[in-house]
Amino acid sequence: MFENVDLSLVNWSRAQFALTAIYHWLFVPLTLGLSFILAIMETVYVRTGDEEWKRMTKFWMTLFGINFAIGVATGLILEFEFGTNWSNYSWFVGDIFGAPLAIEGILAFFLESTFVAVMFFGWNKVSKKAHLVSTWLVAVGASLSALWILVANGWMQNPVGMVFNPETARNEMVNFWEVLFNEVSVTKFLHSISSGFLLGSMFVVSISAYYLLKNREILLAKRSILVAGIFGFLSSLLVVYTGDISARALASAQPVKFAAFEALYEGKEKAGLVAVGLLKESDRKIGEKAVNDFVFRIEIPGFLSVMTGGSTDTFVPGIIDLINGNPERGLLSVSEKMERGRKARDLLIEFKEARKSNDTEKAEGIAALFRDKKFNDEYFRYFGYASLNKPEDAIPGVKVAFYTFHVMVMLGMLFILEFFLAIVLLFRGTLRKNRWFLWLVLFSILLPYVAGELGWMLAEMGRQPWIIQDLMPVTTAVTNVNVGSVITTFILFAVLFTVLLIAEVSIMIRQIKIGPKH
């Protein structure tokens, strides 16, 4: 099928979606993280009655409000793109996406119109406790809102809890709980929100460091670092833990992606985790795709096996095992999966013909087969492979997966160290003397954004060619529209989002320079 597809259309449609998602994710994690920090600060204020904590809460709430208002609704554009540029995909998944996205929409609406309003307008109009409850509900609600989006995304990475109905050409949800508690969704949700908590904490610590460097708002800055430093340290540990369980979930649901982000070509037991490495293309090939070798690497022996199965004896399949198959390890080759996918597709063609010729009995027989568990497990789950031309089409960009993963992990380690040092120096009373550290955390303000975006690039580019793992490649999902119109909207988005970002940053910088009200 790949040769029948205008790849420039696919690539521009992907670029457009990526641009929108990247910009959207600039706003979301700060909302997730800062909302909890506000709630903690306000809780201290309500418990102690200390007006300084109220002033702090109000100051950070101002920055939260700027980010929230500028970022709100930017995610809706992604839904527009589903309908226009990814209509086949949108129809194919409709029933699965419908429920989580509807819940998210309703939740977001009530959250934004009610509790955010109480948070900003209600300081002297509702009781202290009612205000505090609203602030906590905004924090919890923002994370719950993210849950439903990540449930939808998790389903794309690991489609479960549905059957395909050939009558409607749609997947229909048969088990809501299986979709909700999908292993990939749960780990992705925990990893994403904890990275948001980390980002919010770094934001607060960095701006507080700015005040300490400027020798102003000392009490606010120190108390803010106390709250955000501890919250950030705990969050960064949670990010590591959830990253680990997320990797384990990927190892079973998306083994090719897992092997790609370690550039592991030959599967083995006692597989080491590459801490640092540099790749180059070698002369070896899988089909027409070059294999990447390491120029150098520093490896933690056996750790990848432990990450995958809890023991160094765990076999971790490499890309070659997954593409060519490994019968000893029970791994099907991609060629075999393509065969099985084609059987499922041929059956769908037969269903289409039977319906055209009004052969109801035959059509009903085939439709029943698509509801059969054995048929689904053995054939339909490989449906997307029918669209591949060559087995190596199932290999994602190994270099992209490898570097995005490793830079993200290195940044994660840096954040743990920075939060730890911030707490230690604060408790020792030497934070202001260590100006190098204040400069370091000030310049680290953008790094959690980089780490978060790299994480999404790994998640989405690392699972290519699939839009829905094993069921639908991006080439089938895309709508056959004029590529020129996609390029136009790409440019429009780039302009719109850049203007929004400049507006956000300039208003925020102005507010930070003004500082909290006295």
Binding site: T84, N88, R170
Partner: protein, 73 residues
């Protein structure tokens, strides 16, 4: 006034006072927000992002047939 009417009145006054006593940054943000929503829902949605299947096919049956064709190409 009934208790429900009184509640509505209090909610209205809550939002009204909130918006009218807003700080400079709040007002600026609201202007940006309204322009953004206009661009997203009016300009982008109406002129650039029609729902492809809804626009080109009248019924769900026709849409299913179209997608089935795409899946079996």
């Amino acid at each position: 006034m009934s208790s429900f009417g009184s509640l509505l009145n209090r909610i209205f006054r809550f939002y009204y006072e909130g918006f009218t006593t807003m700080s400079w940054w709040g007002k600026r943000i609201w202007i940006i927000l309204l322009i953004k929503l206009f661009v997203i829902f009016i300009v982008l949605k109406l002129f650039f992002f029609p729902d492809f299947l809804k626009k080109n096919y009248k019924t769900d049956e026709q849409r299913s047939k179209h997608v089935l064709e795409q899946l079996t190409k």
